[in-house]
């Protein structure tokens, strides 16, 4: 039995779970089918937007892939500059191989045995694992080469352009085409070009209502799906997650946080539908897009947004207040900014920017923190010391100072990383670097604690691999903690982004950002244009408070002792 097939339990495990799950569905397919039909209807309603989202996803992935593909060449190029061309090429190759192997390690367990058996070698378990990793890395390298060097690469461009054209041609319930709100006052009264001839304000309000209705239905249907799964298809009649959900449901402060956070997410996801005017027209390229309006002389004329914005500035002298039309009959539900742009558009796209930065920064930081804390807790000794040193080194520099330093250096040198989102992506990476030590520190204790549990010893005693021990037996216990700290910290990231932008260091125009709105409006707070700084200010406060409330609620919900003594746990809950 020395070289029996090994290390495939993962694939087996999935198959097996599927099998049981599939069995249950086969026995009683009705609830699942009804639910799936609902999902299909929901997707069809917003099919155009779904494709638009897909197109954006493809864009992000190809940007990241392009960036990663450039790393070996970049490293090799730097080395070549110092040590000569051949060394540089070798370095390029080595970097590429290392990167491919790193990518393949987490997925190698899923490589079927056949892929290795084909080689006809008699391998030990250890060798087999590495062979699988190498095979996967080789396949990845082949795929990458195929994309880079052959016409196959063109296919992706084709696909992405196809997705884009589908996105613009397919209808969506909440799209600007279905419910247009931009039009002009007709000379004979009434409105031209708006939804059913209604006023832009009402058309916009209908669209906004639809967006939130749709989002709510999606949520409810998702929850329904979980309930259907729980009653019909889950093998266990109770899991620890049930208790967590039950406790969360009773926490009104947490539910309030969740509601605001969802509002924020919906605002970001449906920014094109929520904004009364396209961001492209009003913010990014106002001089390239024009629109029609009714002049005082009773004639319909055309002008560009850039000129119209100049007349619609809320800068103390002139003000377009919330819930009003500007002189060009453009509907401004939240008024205009100091530069005459539409505030609602700015706010919703700014939410998008904040969310992308927050999720990227916290996601990346949390990943680093979790991986390092698990490694340090499992192996202890030198790994632990190295991690402590790395985090202490970063924490020794004041976080905001470090962030400013790095962002200035990269922005001034016009580094390619500083391009996406006008520095937003760069900011996210810097936040991840600056904030992982904090998260790591927060979960270090729990990691060390869980590493001492006897079930970790038990796993070792029957030969479980360290990687899988960490994932199955340690990571789930860290997940709760990291979730809490991530949700608390994401508010911090949003506020720091705004603060940096306020100082003129974070995200450059034209990418919309809340901090810049506050910066632009701060001098008019005492004037009739008070809303310019106040509205985004209130929004930031609300979002940060909501994320904190959510984090608190998660902490209380995952703590099983909260059940035992409800009142005492509430007072002592601050410990985590």
């Amino acid at each position: 039995m020395s070289s029996r097939q090994t290390n495939v339990e993962e694939t087996y495990e999935d198959e097996e779970n599927d099998e049981l799950f599939v069995d249950l569905i086969r026995k009683n397919p009705r609830p699942a089918l009804i639910w799936l039909a609902g999902v299909a209807i929901l997707v069809l309603l917003e099919i155009g937007r779904a494709f638009a989202g897909l197109g954006q996803l493809i864009g992000i992935v190809s940007y990241l892939a392009g960036g990663l593909a450039g790393v070996p060449g970049y490293v090799g190029g730097n080395v070549a500059g110092v040590a000569g061309g051949i060394v540089g090429s070798i370095t390029t190759a080595i970097t590429a191989v290392v990167m491919l192997l790193l990518v393949s390690i987490p997925f190698a367990g899923r490589v079927p045995d056949r892929a290795v058996d084909v080689l006809g070698l008699d391998l030990t378990r250890y060798q087999r694992r590495w062979t699988k990793r190498s095979v996967l890395a080789l396949v990845l390298a082949g795929g990458a080469a195929l994309f880079a060097l052959s016409p196959v690469g063109g296919v992706t461009a084709l696909v992405s352009s196809g997705v884009d054209s589908l996105a613009s041609s397919l209808p969506a319930l909440t799209s600007r085409e279905t419910i247009p709100n931009q039009g002009y006052r007709a000379p004979d009264g009434g409105w031209e070009g708006t939804f059913m001839g209604l006023s832009p304000a009402i058309a916009w309000a209908i669209r906004l209502t639809l967006v939130f209705l749709y989002a709510m239905v999606c949520l409810v249907w998702g929850w329904k799906g979980f309930e259907i799964y729980r009653t019909h298809y889950r093998q266990a009649d109770w899991t620890p997650a049930d208790d967590t959900i039950r406790r969360f449901k009773g926490n009104y402060w947490g539910l309030f946080g969740l509601a605001i956070v969802l509002l924020f997410v919906v605002l970001a996801l449906w920014a094109p539908a929520v904004s009364p005017v396209q961001a492209e027209h009003n913010i990014y390229q106002p001089n390239a897009h024009d629109f029609q309006y009714l002049t005082d002389d009773g004639e319909v004329e055309s002008t560009t947004h850039v000129f119209a914005n100049l007349d619609s500035r809320s800068d103390g002298q002139g003000t377009v207040s919330p819930m009003s039309y500007d002189t060009y009959d453009r509907w401004a539900p939240l008024g205009t900014t100091a530069r005459g742009q539409d505030m609602m558009t700015h706010l919703s796209y700014g939410a998008r920017t904040s969310l992308i930065i927050g999720i990227t920064a916290i996601g990346l930081g949390a990943l680093i923190a979790v991986v390092l804390s698990l490694l340090a807790a499992y192996y202890k000794g030198i790994t632990d010391i190295a991690t402590v040193m790395a985090s202490d080194t970063i924490q020794a520099i004041p976080a905001l100072l470090l962030i400013m330093l790095l962002s200035v250096i990269f922005q001034e040198s016009n580094h390619p990383i500083a391009q996406p989102l006008d520095g937003g992506f760069l900011l996210a990476l810097i936040f991840a670097l600056a904030y992982w030590p904090g998260m790591w520190r927060a979960i270090r204790g729990p990691s060390l604690q869980v590493a001492e549990q006897e079930w970790v010893d038990a796993a070792k005693s029957y030969g479980q691999t360290p990687l899988r021990t960490m994932r199955k037996h340690m990571a789930p216990y860290i997940a709760g903690y990291i979730l809490i700290y991530a949700s608390l910290l994401i508010g911090g990231v949003i506020i720091s982004t705004a603060a940096l932008t306020f100082l003129g260091l974070g995200i450059n125009p034209p990418t919309p950002e809340w901090g810049r709105l506050i910066d632009g409006g701060q001098s008019y707070v005492a004037t009739s244009s008070w809303h310019v700084a106040t509205i985004p200010g209130i929004a930031i406060v609300l979002v940060v408070v909501a994320f904190n409330a959510l984090g608190d609620a998660i902490r209380d919900a995952i703590d099983p002792e909260a059940d035992v003594e409800e009142s005492e746990a509430a007072t002592a809950g601050g410990g985590a």
Partner: protein, 459 residues
């Protein structure tokens, strides 16, 4: 302490001994040492948790391993299944030295030896269902097909007295005894031959303990298992074990068949340990042997016999044989204090405070002396030596003070060679009783009285 190997393999002369005939050694431990390094950058001496242990475990038997907390019995058990790395010596498992196994060989071997853990709250991952927990060893070793694994898990659950419906329950939903059953099912999953039971019932209610013990016995009969049963509950050990090994400070003090060892203990430590068992018969008066002090720090074990610092039957120099027991207790305590002081480093501040007769965290030697021997009737010749020792120690020359103390009151038990050589003398394993029993004590040597009568005299 090396080189004292117990020759437990039955030899030709003993072929009339029924118990040892047909016995088949499964695990053979030779001079096993497990040290925990001090940690940190400084070169602290290691903690000698297991310090040169040798014995055999026979196929199909239950070997009990008893001793007080911290004596190294759990570490020994963990080393046997390679959860701890041995510092020295070997563990022969069917003639393979498992301490030298690495990588795939170790992974393959692991299915032969498993462990039941002490705390059923901590040994089961709360986030997994019972099915997943019991199945994991099968998954790790890629045992047959998923469907067969699932069936095996259900069979195992049935075997340990749970139901197949429990497959999708979580550990939260079970009581301590049931959780221990789940742990046992997981241990059995890979069909091991040898199982280390690390205090499997000590965290359970007394009523549940018996159920688990019976389950373990049934499983042993059914599956031909070999157990190493680690425990501190002597009555449980007496009930379940075929043989018992008594451990103290990283050493096996006595090992032999259970009934014989319980009825007629040979080693002074075994005497002391057994005398701690409460007796149900109130009319039967037997003096409890109370051990003074605490076990020595395993980082700095005493020289000579590990039990010498607390032994109630310690060999005393002839000149002081008649000395009062309380005085002897005082002398032993003095030795411990000196050893402790020798290790303690004094800071500059403390040296200065001492110079100016200010208070430090070290009591002065006079105070110590007064405390130990104050109310006692110490014979003049002993008093003179003790005073001298205290004076030397007062000058912070503990090493010389200890030498002086050993010279006068030391015996072979403290590692002092009676023939006068500087070499340290360790006890040997002497065969006692009729059935291949070994005891680690100088008193079994022909030159000394046996421990039992000495204990009777002294207590």
């Amino acid at each position: 302490m090396s080189g004292n190997t117990i020759e437990t393999t039955p030899n030709g002369e003993r072929n009339d001994d029924e118990r040892s005939r047909g016995r088949d050694t499964m695990v053979s431990i030779r001079d096993l040492k497990t040290y925990y390094e001090g940690g940190g950058l400084f070169d602290n001496p290691p903690v000698k948790a297991v310090d040169g242990v040798s014995f055999d475990i026979y196929r199909g038997e239950t070997l009990g391993l008893v001793g007080e907390s911290g004596c190294g019995k759990t570490t020994l058990g963990r080393t046997l299944i390679q959860l701890e790395e041995a510092t020295g010596g070997e563990v022969l498992f069917d003639d393979t030295d498992i301490t030298s196994l690495t990588g795939d060989q170790l992974y393959e071997w692991r299915r032969n030896a498993q462990m039941v853990f002490q705390d059923p709250d901590s040994s089961l991952n709360d986030r997994m269902t019972i099915g997943e927990i019991v199945r994991e060893p099968l998954d790790v070793h890629d045992w047959k097909t998923p469907r067969e694994r699932r069936n095996r898990v259900k069979k195992l659950l049935d075997q340990v007295g749970l139901a197949a419906e429990h497959y999708f329950r979580y550990p939260h939903q079970f009581s301590g005894g049931q959780r221990q059953r789940i742990g046992i099912a997981r241990t059995l999953a890979l069909n091991p031959e040898f199982i280390v039971l690390d205090e499997p019932v000590s965290a359970l209610d007394v009523s549940v303990q018996a159920e688990i013990i019976n389950l373990l016995e049934e499983l042993q009969d059914e599956l031909d298992l070999t157990y190493l049963f680690i425990a501190h509950d002597l009555s449980v050990v007496r009930h379940i074990c075929d043989r018992v090994a008594v451990m103290y400070l990283g050493n096996i003090m006595e090992i032999g068949p259970t009934e014989e060892l319980f009825n007629d203990p040979a080693n002074p430590y075994t005497h002391a340990l057994l005398s701690a068992i409460p007796r149900p018969d109130p009319t039967q008066r037997r003096d409890r042997i109370t051990l003074h002090g605490t076990p020595p720090n395993p980082r700095y074990p005493p020289s000579g016999c590990p039990f010498s610092t607390r032994c109630p039957a310690r060999i005393r120099p002839e000149a002081y044989e008649a000395l009062d027991d309380d005085v002897w207790d005082g002398i032993n305590a003095l030795r411990e204090i000196l050893r402790e002081r020798m290790r303690a480093t004094r800071s500059v501040r403390e040296r200065i405070r001492e110079r100016f007769d200010m208070e430090t965290r070290f009591a002065t030697m006079d105070e110590t002396y007064e405390e130990l021997f104050g109310g006692l009737d110490v014979p003049p010749e002993a008093e003179e030596v003790l005073q001298r020792v205290a004076d030397i120690a007062g000058d912070h020359d503990e090493r010389r003070a200890l030498d002086a103390l050993d010279e006068e009151f030391g015996s072979i038990c403290d590692g002092v060679d009676p023939d006068g050589s500087d070499e340290e003398i360790d006890p040997e394993y002497y065969t006692v009783g009729e059935n291949d029993r070994k005891s680690y004590c100088h008193r079994h040597d022909d030159g000394f009285r046996e421990p039992a009568p000495v204990l009777d005299d002294r207590h």
